[in-house]
């Protein structure tokens, strides 16, 4: 089969759709890394949890994730109790109880009640994000907060551990079968020779919306500026009273929300297994590296490039698709390292 205009436009559309999701994931990775110095490897699991939760809700069943969220909440609560064993404050305890046990219980109850009701797909998508996003809070509390001052390497090893743990939990709570969610909207329309599905339009719009929202958050709100400040100068941020925990939690909840949304967007266009998320997250990671782990705009553009390369590689050399995509980072890393040596000499 030869590449003609029709196939090319189809591939471009496909690349753009995947690239938009990779852009979201890449942004989340840059966000978490710049604020907390954590390489967010478990992001893929959040994506898979999101897609699988949506697919289970679509079938009218209660997914395992609310129960898992409750387990995370209990673990976070016990860790807080342990850290306060010397001086226990009642108001802090009450707040902690509400956040770590009340919130997941509320979500669990709501899901039990709402799941069998066959609600509109938009509600199911929102429920999914609501279940997954607080996991960012608890994962940060359990795994990363105790290590806030550790080196990047220790945090990286922690990330690998969290990734493996969440992968195993995914298998327990969802089983080995792949699931596919139903699209939020089934429609499609033609634009010239192009058949555009409503789902891909939804992906573009959501990506743009999230990017605009992130822009406003970082440019206009004090909390957003505090996150940027932490990324620029950690000591400076502490000296003005910005708590490392606050920025860390915010970064993780944002990243978990973005990953959950990505899962909701990806769920209806590919079959997702408990371990599919990792590979999707890695594509976002490639984009983040192409953006030097620091630039939001470059990461977003690079992500579209990654989607395109992947799409065309799957047409020309589908067996080597992943190799070609991940091979992209090698020249970039060489170039960045040359650049770094150059800076050191100055």
């Amino acid at each position: 089969m030869h590449l003609d205009a029709t196939i090319a436009t189809f591939l471009i559309q496909d690349g753009l759709t995947n690239g938009a999701v990779y852009a979201l994931l890449g942004l989340a990775i840059v966000l978490v890394f710049s604020v907390t110095r954590v390489i967010f490897i478990p992001q893929g699991e959040f994506v898979a949890y999101g897609a699988l939760t949506l697919a289970t809700l679509d079938a009218g069943n209660v997914p395992g994730t609310p129960k898992l969220l409750l387990c995370f909440g209990v673990a976070a609560f016990l860790l807080d109790l342990w850290s306060w064993r010397r001086d226990l404050k009642v108001d802090a305890l009450a707040r902690n109880f509400a956040l770590n046990l009340g919130l997941p219980l509320l979500i669990y109850g709501a899901v039990l009640y709402l799941a069998p009701l066959q609600l509109p797909s938009v509600i199911r998508a929102l429920m999914t994000v609501l279940i997954i996003a607080p996991m960012g809070l608890y994962v940060y509390r359990i795994a990363y907060r105790p290590l806030a001052d550790a080196s990047v390497l220790v945090l990286l090893i922690t990330s690998v551990g969290v990734h493996l743990a969440m992968l195993g939990l995914g298998l327990i709570f969802f089983g080995p079968e792949g699931l596919r969610a139903t699209p939020l909207h089934d429609g499609s329309f033609t634009m010239g020779p192009l058949l555009v599905t409503a789902q891909s339009v939804l992906i573009y719009l959501t990506t743009i919306l999230i990017m605009v929202a992130l822009y406003f958050f970082f440019e206009k709100t004090l909390l957003g500026k505090a996150l940027r400040a932490t990324a620029v100068n950690r000591l400076g941020a502490r000296l003005v009273g910005v708590r490392t925990q606050l920025t860390g939690v915010t970064a993780f909840v944002l990243a978990a929300t973005i990953a959950a949304v990505s899962g909701v967007l990806m769920g209806p266009i590919t079959t997702i297994y408990y371990d599919t998320g990792f590979l999707i997250g890695l594509k976002g990671f490639v984009a983040a590296i192409l953006g030097g782990m620091g630039s939001f705009p470059v990461t977003a553009i690079a992500a579209i490039g990654v989607g395109m390369v992947e799409s065309f590689a799957s047409f020309f050399a589908s067996n080597y698709k992943e190799i070609i995509v991940f091979g992209l980072i090698v020249p970039v890393l060489i170039w960045l390292s040359i650049d770094a040596v150059h800076h050191e000499e100055e």
């Binding site: 500026k225 505090a226 400040a229 620029v232 000591l235 502490r238 000296l239 003005v240 009273g241 910005v242």
Partner: protein, 237 residues
């Protein structure tokens, strides 16, 4: 007699096995300027970092009569604020954002009010409010660091070498601003290598040498002490 705003008793700080502060005691009254002078490496910066909680220390730090909170952030909330030697500005953010973040723990209305006061005090910063902090000159950066610290409405300002690396004329400007700040009621613990200038604006002085307090007393007395002048201030200047 009103109680001391800050009271340090027997402060020890170690880096690994090496102890660099060997039991420093110091007291300062609300609204006063106290200067810590001494040669490079005497432990002056370490002392300020210990008071702010940036580095761990042993001994008692009483602030307003009670033990100071543990974390840096809680100390900021309690009214302490450190302007470090390296300024630690948010260089890729605007002057305005840097100043706004200084008031992170204050309400929006307090922030707006204090910001206007600061722009009136530092017109240079008002002119450059949209500029990135990293593009400012040395003197402007020090002014921005001071302004950012004042946004938190501190009761005790810890200033680490505010004149370091600045041209003499700008040093005079900065020290003028520091002595004017006293009128707003804020107490200042000032670490300076430029001992003569520091003693001129301070009420009390502490001479620190090799991690210990060697001399202390009213600044005016220290400034005219012949032995002190000889060894630390440069007799011929």
């Amino acid at each position: 007699m009103s109680r001391n705003l800050l009271e340090l008793t027997d402060i020890h700080v170690s880096y690994g096995h090496a102890e660099v502060l060997h039991g420093i005691s110091l007291a300062m009254r609300p609204g006063s300027i106290v200067t810590v002078i001494g040669a490079n490496g005497a432990g002056k910066t370490t002392l300020l970092n210990a008071v702010m909680g940036v580095i761990p220390s042993t001994g008692a730090i009483l602030y307003d009569g009670v033990p100071v909170p543990r974390s840096v952030e809680a100390r900021v909330a309690a009214g302490l604020c450190l302007v470090p030697e390296k300024r630690e500005l948010f260089s890729s953010m605007t002057v305005e954002d840097n100043i706004e973040l200084g008031g992170f723990l204050r309400s929006a209305s307090e922030r707006g009010e204090t910001r206007e006061e600061l722009y009136a005090r530092f017109p240079r910063l008002a002119e450059r409010r949209k500029q990135l902090a990293g593009t400012l000159s040395g003197g402007e950066r020090q002014m921005l660091a001071l302004a950012r610290a004042l946004m938190s409405r501190p009761r005790l300002l810890l200033l680490d070498e505010p004149s370091l690396g600045l041209a003499p004329r700008i040093v005079a400007d900065i020290l003028n601003i520091v002595s004017e700040l006293r009128k707003t009621g804020v107490a200042i613990l000032l670490v300076e290598q430029n001992a003569r200038a520091a003693l001129e604006i301070a009420d009390e002085g502490y001479l620190v040498e090799l991690g210990e307090v060697r001399r202390s007393g009213p600044a005016a007395e220290l400034a005219v002490d012949p032995a002190l002048m000889e060894s630390y201030l440069g007799a011929h200047s």
